[in-house]
Every structure is written in C-alpha cells, then in structure tokens.
C-alpha cells in the first residue's frame, strides 16, 4: 500500500456521483446510481475491494486493522485556499479498530499460505436465505457473480462446551434429543401460532397489544420454558442483549419484531433446495458481496479506481457547498454528489460552521443511541468444533458462559469448502456487543476457552495470556461441579488454536457531517439493517430515482471488459 504507482489522470473529470470506499453500502449505492444512469466514479485507497466489508489474506488482515486503529499523521499540506474559487477541506480518517491482538501458534504453516485465506473483516456474517440481501442479489442479477453454500445448522452453546442443535423446524423439533415432550409440544404450538398469525388466520391472530409488548413477555405469556425462550430469542430472533434484564438490555425486542424475525428464519429454511439450513455463506468470503456489486456497477458504466487516496474536499468558497474532491494524484474531480466511507472525516476550518442543508436532511443518520462497540475474533483451527458438520453457527445466549455476560456471543465456523482457508482447516468468526474493549475481550476469550485449546507457547503478548487464564479459571470454577459427569468434556479433544485475531470495532463515530457517509459494519448477523440504511441514503441523494428498478434484470449484460480493474 505504501508504493503507490504513478496515477494516470482520470477522464472525464466531472461525474454525477463520487463514491469513496468500496464497502458493501458504497458498492450498492454505486451500482444503484449507475443503474439509474448516473455517471459514477468509485474510488478506494486500498488495493482491494470491500473496505471494512472485505475478506483479506491472512497476512494482510493485521496491517489493514492497524492502519485503521490510529488517527493518521496530520495532513500533509495545511488547509489552504487554492488560488481558484474553492476552499480545500482536508480529509482525515477516524480509527475504527482498537485492541488488536494477533496470536500465531503455527507461524510457518500459516505464513507460507497466507494468500489461501480469505478472512472476513466484519465477521461473523451470513445471509438468511430469505433476507433483503438475497432479494437484492436476485433482483439485480448480482447473484451471477457469486456462489454460495449453505450454513447447515445452528447450535446453542453452553459453558461446558456442549453444542445443542436449535429445533427450528417441525422436523428438527421431532428429531431433537434435548427437548422433553412437553417442551416439543409447546414450541411447535408456538411456531404454529406464529405461522397462523403471519398467514392472517383470524382465530390465531396475535393481539395488537401483544405485538407492541416486549417479545420476552409474550413468550412468558405463552408459557414457554426458559430453554425454549432462549432458543427463540437468541438463536432464531438473534436478539443481542439479555431480554430479561431491562437494566442492561439496550435493544428490547418487541413481539412484532420478534415475530418478523421468526418469519424471516422460517422463510429461509428450505427456500433453496440445496441449502439445508437457514443461512448462506459466499464462496471466497463475505468480501465477494461488495465486489459483486462493484461488478454490477461497472457493467452499468461506473468507473473504478483502486489504490487512489483522496486528500481533500473541494467546497465553494462563498456558499461552502460541496464541489469535488482532490485525489492523491493531485487531480481535482468534480461531482454533484459525494458518498464517503464512514472512516473519513472532514476537518472544518476553525470558526466556520458547516453548511447545513445535508445535515438536516439526514436525520436518520444521527444514530439513535450509542451502541458502544463490537468485539470480533477470528480463530483458525485444524479440526471442526463438531464432527460431521463443517459450516454452522453457534449462539451463546446472554449469561450462558458467565454471569456478567449480558450480550449474545455468536460464532460462525466456516470450512475450507467455502475457499476461506487451507484445505482441512476451519475459520471461526466470533463477535459480541460490548461497552469497551476489556469487556469485549472477556466475551471472546470466554468462547475460545470453552471450545478451543489455546497453546501456551505463542508469540502473543503476556497480557493476553494472563487474561485468558483468568477467564478460563472463572469459567472452570463455575462448571467444575457438573463437568465431572458431563458428557462432552473429557471425551473429545478440543480443537487447537493455530492463529487468532481479536479486535474491537467502533459501532458509532460521531457521525453527523454535511457529507453523506455510509454505515459501518454493524453488530448484526446479516445485512438487513445495512441494506435498509443504504436504501435510505440512496433515496436521499436521488429521491426521484428508483432503487434498482425491476426492469434492470431483464437484460443481463455480459461482463467482459467491464470487469473491475484491480
């Protein structure tokens, strides 16, 4: 990234829209705008597609994370007025990641094959077979650039290392070994109630009052036992916070939303014949998604330039209105509209107040509340967490690992058949919402200690080790009573950790600017919320244009020369 080749000049120099950053939201907007016949220039300072949504080789991931972990050096040229009619506003980047820990336990093996890995920066993430991302892919024909495989199952984990399969369908309930007969009956009746409600059957309508009440209250009202409630809330509706503790729950799920989640899950199972589970995962990693939309945009005429940093914003001297950007090559490019990836920050000259029309027009963008951070972990192992199944999701509901755990921890295991790692290896993506980095680390370590053997002789720093040990012993204490007779503990060897990367990602970055910024990766398992936001941004900048009109599908163009340059 350091050796930037000489920049060829970009021609033309005026566009309808400039998009900076090739994360998924930026890529979708670029594709949508191109489809709406706008001229679009899509820039990325990185030499790869996807920005914070990319999938990177093993060796590149640490450097990418750390390059976004500190504020960059002060701008190379002081903000100055050009001789012409523009003011220059310097770009700065905001740190997105913190507390980055990279541990390697098998240096040779991994270093030699770094390029065989495609590690998601924003994992764990999947696509529900019936969610908005799939609809968007199908509607835009973008699916032709990608291939998916099924994530075959969902499990709920406990602190003894057991993984319980989630009875998420009629057949699964029938087959389930962990539920009692009464629990099976209650769960299936609840599913039927929800299905009946969704199908609009009059006699099973859920009242409006119930729909507005907290989902957990509704589940209690239905008399569902704790185990089933936990399955529904955290492994099907994918709630993030402990729903039963209103003190810590920042996102109390309403019945209405909970039922929508169940509907999504239900519609996802069996939607595609060869997908046995509810989720899909793209071959070569989640970064493919951004890249596919970039291809889509390129086919529609969008111009792509990678490795092209942008140094400053050009604003009208008198009105303060946006005019264009200055590239690292020194070239000035002009456009009507600008979309920025969320790590960019514009330094306003002291004393000047930002021209405000945009800010006021984007109320949805001032995120409702502070959602803190998300802790992410990537682990590489040589054995699957569960024999006979390679791609699956594990959910640790709040307080399932230790009493202070107030958020769900999700883990996604992806195997080499999805081309994300060396054959025979497995990549585990772990994430949990947290208030700060320490809390986040604790959450991720708790999962790792429950499921993995962490070798002692490693290159990682001592602090991590001691913390690991501490949490490990805490968990051990708690379970020592029952673990003696436990079914899973002694029998099978836990997979050994080969490599891990732990980091925290900001979920909010004092967002409001007068320039449109796209959302950063959120704490959800799928892309639904991100796509919603992206759609709103598009509507905001092009209120008169349709977001991928239906007709765009009927003439799928062959992407020959138009493929994105690298």
């Amino acid at each position: 990234m350091d050796d930037i080749p000489p920049y060829p000049p970009i021609d033309p120099t005026t566009f309808d829209l400039i998009v900076i950053g090739t994360g998924l939201p930026e890529s979708i907007i670029a594709a949508a705008a191109s489809t709406a016949s706008k001229s679009v220039l899509h820039l990325d300072p990185n030499p790869f597609y996807g920005s914070h949504f990319s999938s990177l080789p093993l060796a590149d991931l640490p450097s990418f994370l750390s390059s976004h972990s500190t504020s960059p050096s002060p701008p190379h040229s002081p903000s100055s007025d050009d001789p012409n009619e523009f003011s220059l506003l310097e770009f700065a980047t905001r740190p997105l990641y913190s507390s980055i820990d990279i541990s390697t336990f098998s240096p040779n093996l991994l270093d030699q094959h770094s390029r065989k890995f495609n590690l998601d920066v924003a994992g764990p993430r999947v696509l529900f077979c019936a969610d908005k991302s799939i609809e968007l892919l199908l509607r835009t024909g973008t699916n032709q650039y990608m291939e998916f495989k099924s994530v075959d199952a969902t499990f709920v984990g406990d602190n003894k290392g057991n993984l319980w399969s989630v009875p998420d369908s009629r057949a699964a309930i029938f087959k389930d070994k962990s539920l009692g007969l009464v629990e099976k009956n209650k769960l299936m009746r609840f599913f039927k109630l929800v299905q009946g409600h969704l199908a609009g059957e009059q006699d099973v309508k859920i009242s409006e009052e119930d729909l507005q009440s907290p989902f957990v209250d509704f589940l209690n009202k239905m008399g569902l036992p704790p185990k089933i409630k936990s399955f529904i809330l955290y492994a099907i509706a994918m709630a993030d916070y402990d729903q039963e503790d209103t003190g810590v729950c920042r996102d109390l799920l309403k019945t209405k939303d909970g039922i929508d989640q169940l509907a999504l899950y239900n519609a996802s199972i069996g939607r595609f014949q060869n997908a046995s589970g509810a989720f899909l995962y793209p071959i070569y990693g989640q970064g493919e998604l951004s890249q596919a939309f970039c291809r889509r945009a390129a086919v529609k005429g969008c111009l792509y330039v990678l490795r092209m940093p942008v140094t400053a914003l050009l604003v009208d001297k008198d009105t303060g209105c946006y005019k264009g950007v200055r590239l690292a090559s020194g070239q000035d490019i002009f456009s009507q509209k600008l979309i920025l990836d969320p790590t960019f920050k514009v330094t306003l000259p002291l004393g000047s107040s930002p021209p405000l029309p945009l800010k006021e027009k984007l109320p949805f963008f001032s995120l409702k509340d502070d959602k803190g951070k998300i802790a992410r972990g990537i682990c590489i192992t040589k054995t699957s967490l569960k024999p006979d199944i390679s791609n699956f999701l594990v959910v640790y509901p709040p307080r399932s690992l230790f009493p202070e755990q107030v958020t769900s921890i999700r883990l996604l295991q992806i195997a080499s058949n999805l081309a994300v790692c060396l054959p025979g290896m497995f990549v585990l993506y772990i994430s949990a919402l947290c208030n700060d980095d320490d809390q986040g680390k604790k959450l991720i370590h708790a999962v790792m200690n429950t499921l993995l053997t962490v070798p002692l002789d490693s290159e990682s720093n001592a602090a991590v080790q001691s913390e690991t040990a501490e949490i490990g012993s805490a968990v051990q204490d708690e379970t020592s009573e029952s673990s003696s007779g436990g079914p899973s503990d002694s029998g099978e060897e836990k997979p050994t950790l080969l490599w891990s990367a732990l980091y925290s990602q900001e979920l909010t970055l004092g967002q409001v600017d007068f320039i449109c910024s796209t959302p950063m990766p959120d704490g959800k398992l799928n892309y639904n919320d991100l796509i919603d936001t992206t759609f709103k941004i598009f509507q905001e900048i092009y209120p008169e244009e349709e977001f991928f009109p239906e007709t765009s599908l009927e003439n799928p163009e062959v992407d020959g020369d138009a493929s994105p340059e690298t």
Partner: protein, 696 residues
C-alpha cells in the same frame, strides 16, 4: 404432490387436452386392432408403448405387452441376451409411464411382473425407488413396490426399518412410512429376529419414538395411526384365549323341560328351560378363531359322544372363524346327575385369524341335572303372554343371595397364566396413560382424549380381570361424553364406545350387575323363560356389548335405548325372551343376529324405525342378504306354497323364516302394516301372538 389447489384450465390447456384426446383415440383404435389380431411386431409393440406413455392407465395395453413378452420369450430362437433386452425395454416403458403418472397402478404392477420374471437386476429398482420417494415420500405405490423389491432382494427388515426411520426423520407426517414400519416390525416379531424376540423390549422404544411425533404435532394424524397399532400390539395377546363359556366352570345346570323346577337347591341363574331336546355349550374367545371341532375341544359326559358334537361358529358373516362357538348337547332322557368336562385346545388346531395357535389348554366342568317334564307343555303356554313392562318386575330379592354370589363368581373362566405374562403390558399402558394425561393438560385434543379413553379402558380390562372392577370407567364415560360434544361428526362412534364402556361397567361386578337383575312376576308362573330378567333398558345404549359376561342371560330387556345394531347378540345362545322395544333399529336385516338364537321365543321389536328409510344405510354394516348362504338356504318351492311374494318381502322372509317365535311385537314400525303382518303370520306358522293378539 399434496395440497396443491386445483386450477380451472386455461383455454389453451383445454385445446391441448382435446388434441391429446384425439391422438389418444387414434392410437387406441390402432392398438386394439393389433391386440385383437395378436400382432406382436416391433411396430405394434412400440405403438402400445406410445399409448402408455400418454395414458399409463390403459390396463389393456399393459396386458398386451405382457402377452407380447410371453410371445417373444416363447420363440425358439430366444436366448438370454434377447430376454434381457426385451425385459429391459419393458422396464423403460414403465419408467416413462411412471414419469407421466407415478401413481399408475397398471405401471407399477407391470414392473412387478417384469421383475418377477427374474431376469432383471433388482438393485436398479432401489435406485429408481429412491428417485420416486424423493419426489414424493408419501407415494404409497412406491412404498408398496419397495416392499416387493426388498423382499425379492432379500434386504433385511432391519435395513428397511432404518429406512423408514430416515424417511420419518425427514418428514414424520408420512402414513406410508409409519405403516411400513408396522409391517416390518410384525415380520420381525413373527420371525423372532435377533433383538425382536420380545415385544416387551421393542414396543417401549417405539412408543418413545411416536411420542416425539405426537407431542410435536398432535394435529398430524399419521402418528396417531401408528400409536393405535402399537396399542393393539400391546393389548392383544398373540395367542387366543378362552374368555368365558356357558355353562361356566362349576355350574350346576338344571335342565327343565317344563316350567316347573325345584328352585331350592339351584340358582335361578343356572336353570335352563329347553323345549328342543338339547342345550348349548358356548365357548367365547377373546378374538376370532377357527378350527374349533370335536378334535380340538373334548366334551366328556355320560350322555353324549364327543365325536357327535358339531361345533359351529357364530358370526355375522359365514366365515369359519368367530369369537363364539356353539355345540348342542342332547338332554339326557332320564333324571340323572351328570358331570360334563370340557377341555379346550389340548390338541392343536385352534388358530386365531392372525395365525396364532391357541396355546393355553384349559378345562372346565359343570354338573347337569334334568328336571323331567311334569305337565303337558302345550296346555300352559298358549294362554300365557310375556310382557316386559315395569309393573311386571320386582327387584331381585336378597333371599337367595348366597347362591347368586356363588354362581356369579363362576361366570368367568380363570386365565391365571396370562396375568403374570402381561405385567409389561399393563406397565406400558400405565406409562402411556401418564403421557397422554400430560398432553391433555397442555392442550385440548380430540384424538388425545380418544386415545386416553382407549388406554384407560384397556388398562382396566387388563389389570383387573379378577378384581371385577373397572377403576377408570367413570372417567372414560366422561371422556366419551365430552367427545360427543366436541366432535359431532363422529358422534355415533363415540356413542357406541360409550355404550360399550357402560356395559363393561355394569357387568364388571356382581353388585352392579345385580342392580339390573329383576324377577319377572311370579317366577313360578313363567313357563318359557327363566325367572331372572336382565334389564338394560333406558341406558341410551347405541350398541350392545360385554357378551362374554352375559352368556347366561335368558330374558333381556333392552327397551328404550338407541340401538341401531345388535351385532354380537348371537353369542347369547340362551336368550328366550328379548325386548328391543323403542330403539333405533332401521331395518329387518339389523335383526340378523337373532336368527342364530335357537331358543328365542318372545321378541319385542315394537316402536323402532324399521321401514322408515327407503334406503337402508346400515345394511352394509350387516351381512348382505345377497351374499353368503342365503341363496342356498332358501327354498323357492316353500316360499311359493306359503303364498308369500318373495320378491317384495325378501328381507322379512330371510330374517323370520328361521325364527321359532311364540310371541312377536312389531307395532310402531313403518313396515308393520296389516298386509305385512299377514305375511309374517304365514312365514312363522308357529307364532301364537302378534302385537298382543292371539292368533287363531
């Protein structure tokens, strides 16, 4: 495959179907000409293939192809290669036809026929089946064929059992898979295969398995059907058992050839009047059996030779199997005391309809005493009329309580050998009862209630054969009453079950039965019937049951009930007086069981619905007069001479001609007009009273 709504055809579809019909007709015409002229050329055979591809239901075409195959195979130059190619062609045609309609009976049958020839690989068939069963896992044609293939391949039942399990795990709403499971398990039980030696081990696991389905989705019926099969496997003992007999063990039977008998030493329950010179021995088995004869049942007594005894099955149809078998012993001519010993099943030959041998030889004995005729029979009986009305009864007194107790306790045959073996059965039932109580505590579920009722009843019957007490009968009756309200569509079924349980309850103990025993008038004055009348009137019974406990009854009052059928009543061989007044009998054929009651003299069928309905919907439940023995029994000449129009009164003739009634009440039925009554008088010349009027 299931639940796809039917759509109205579009115009172009209709046009296509017209064109298809035309093509089909042309093909058919040509095909038939080939067929009739026995032309089996290549061209002709191909034409039939084309026809079958469009219409796999064309049976004639399949048969034609069979003839063609036979034709080829019988050629002198026929060699193994040719056979193979001919048969492979057939398999291909079938496969194409099945692609068109995978539920074509003809196609599947043809395939079986081809494979049965034994020249084709069966292994391919499993692959084909996998394809069809993947497309529709509930296609019973495929399942049928699978059983055939598995058998011809000698695939083990265990493997197939595993296959049903896999299919059930995919979707447990699959009647065919559950059914196949029951078929396979039956086969394994019969074979006594390893791991399937005792039901005791296997059934609990199956119960556990089916509970998962039933609890997960109680609305799905397929699981319940399998549960019912399991319940049957649990309750029904393999080998048939003798449930009761008349006379019972230890009876003192007083045979009276006239009304007078010395009551003092004998219980009124065991005195029998007979004017036919013989008395019956009745064997009541717990399930239909065949093979009861003088070689399998030995009757030893001083006055009859065992070999002379003719055992007859008593069943509605004329099959040679029945639960009830009867033989008639000649009444000894002189006043004597004699002991009769009956041993059942000491030599092999009694076999249940399921093919199980009667394996618990049992013996019972009773004493017979004959009361010689003291008066001229004809003088008394003419004037007497029997009327089962309230005022003619008095509650059976306590004066002879002792003798009643003694005799009642002897009514049932001891089956001690079963009680130990059935421990696991009642344990299994108890478990099931607990399980379904739990289900019903979770939700209201009709079939759950029905199952609980069946379980409770089965449990009572099994656990208390000697306690003579049905612990749960009240609860069961309540469940059925509930079901009648909840599920009006099946009202009649619940009503019938309710009646059966009520009768079980009434007959379960001496105390409850005695409440229904009444003394008819002055017992001494009765010349025809025994003095005790069992009154089961006004209980809103829709069906009669508990016959094994009622074999001794001679006078039975079933008036003011809701009986539509009296199926099974033929078991009550001693009945001489029966009131069915004010019930819901709808046809004369409903009276068929009475034809087998040789001692019946007084019958009241007044105020029923006989003749109300021009179409007799119950007929199909009873044996049809058009089937069985009727044709051979009836004698046209006899009919003609008695002047009855056979055609118009077929049923009346059929039912009443064998009756030996003295007294009949039929008033209050639509059919019973004056003309009909005059016909009855002609059919039954011995009748002395009709609707209360003395006949000259």
């Amino acid at each position: 495959m299931h639940g796809r709504p039917r759509k109205a055809p579009k115009p172009e579809e209709e046009a296509a179907s017209v064109a298809k019909a035309q093509k089909l007709r042309a093909l058919q015409t040509q095909f038939f000409s080939f067929h009739h002229n026995k032309i089996y050329t290549k061209e002709a055979v191909e034409l039939s293939a084309k026809l079958l591809e469009i219409n796999p239901e064309s049976y004639t075409a399949w048969n034609y192809r069979k003839l063609a195959v036979e034709h080829y195979l019988s050629q002198p130059d026929c060699n193994p290669d040719l056979i193979k190619s001919v048969l492979d062609d057939e398999l291909r045609v079938v496969e194409n036809a099945l692609r068109q309609n995978f539920k074509s009976y003809g196609a599947w049958h043809h395939r079986k026929w081809v494979i049965s020839k034994g020249h084709s690989s069966v292994n391919n068939e499993l692959r084909l089946l996998d394809k069809f069963q993947k497309a529709d896992s509930r296609n019973f044609h495929a399942w049928n064929y699978r059983r055939f293939v598995a058998e011809s391949m000698k695939r083990s039942e265990q493997d197939e059992l595993k296959y049903t399990e896999d299919m059930i795990y995919k979707n447990f709403s699959n009647y065919s898979a559950w059914h196949n499971r029951s078929v396979l398990l039956s086969a394994l039980f019969e074979k006594k295969a390893e791991g399937f030696l005792s039901k005791e081990k296997v059934l609990p696991e199956e119960y556990e398995f089916i509970h998962q389905a039933i609890f997960t989705d109680p609305d799905d019926q397929s699981g319940w059907f399998y549960h019912l099969w399991l319940l049957d496997q649990t309750v029904t003992t393999d080998s048939p058992l003798l449930a009761s007999s008349w006379p019972g063990h230890g009876y003192d039977v007083l045979l009276v050839e006239d009304r007078c008998y010395n009551g003092s030493a004998f219980s009124p329950f065991t005195a029998l009047h007979s004017d036919s010179g013989s008395f019956p021995i009745v064997l009541y088995f717990n399930q239909p059996v065949g093979g009861v004869s003088s070689s399998t049942v030995t009757v030893e007594c001083g006055f009859n030779k065992n070999e002379d005894l003719l055992w007859k099955p008593l069943s509605a149809s004329n099959s040679q199997t029945a639960r009830v078998w009867v033989a008639h012993l000649k009444i000894p001519s002189s006043d004597l005391h004699s002991t009769v010993e009956v041993s059942v099943g000491h030599s092999k030959g009694i076999i249940s309809t399921r093919g199980f041998e009667y394996s618990h030889p049992s013996m019972f004995s009773f004493k017979v005493r004959v009361q010689p005729m003291e008066r001229d029979f004809s003088q008394v009986s003419v004037a007497e009329s029997i009327s089962l009305r309230e005022e003619n009864f008095k509650i059976y007194g306590t004066q002879s309580e002792e003798s009643i107790i003694n005799s009642f306790n002897q009514l049932s045959i001891k089956n001690g050998h079963e009680s130990t073996a059935s421990n696991w059965r009642s344990e299994a039932l108890a478990k099931e009862i607990e399980c379904f109580r739990e289900l019903l505590s979770l939700m209201d579920c009709k079939i759950g209630k029905l199952t609980l009722a069946r379980l409770l009843m089965a449990y009572d019957v099994m656990s208390y054969p000697f306690a003579n007490k049905l612990v749960h009968s009240e609860e069961v009756l309540e469940l059925y009453s509930d079901l009648m309200k909840l599920d009006p569509t099946h009202y009649q079924y619940y009503k019938d079950e309710h009646s059966m349980v009520l009768l079980q309850k009434v007959t379960s103990s001496k105390e409850s039965l005695l409440q229904h025993c009444f003394q008819y008038k002055d017992s001494v004055s009765s010349a025809i019937c025994g003095p005790i009348c069992l009154r089961l009137n006004n209980l809103s019974l829709s069906r009669m049951g508990a016959f094994e406990k009622l074999l001794w009854v001679q006078m039975l009052d079933l008036s003011d009930n809701e009986l539509q059928s009296i199926e099974g009543l033929e078991a009550m061989q001693l009945l001489s007086c029966l009131s069915l007044r004010n019930n819901k009998l709808r046809s004369l054929t409903a009276l068929e069981p009475l034809r087998k009651l040789k001692l019946l003299r007084v019958l009241d069928i007044s105020y029923n619905q006989i003749g109300d309905h021009s179409i007799d919907t119950t007929r199909y439940l009873c044996s049809s007069p058009l089937s069985h023995s009727v044709g051979s029994e009836s004698n046209k000449d006899e009919t003609v001479t008695s002047g009855v129009a056979l055609i118009d009164n077929w049923e009346a003739f059929y039912i009443f001609k064998d009756f030996n009634l003295n007294q009949l009440d039929i008033v209050g039925n639509t059919i019973a007009d004056e003309k009909f009554k005059s016909i009855l008088v002609k059919i039954m010349p011995k009748l002395k009273q009709l609707d209360g009027k003395l006949l000259g």
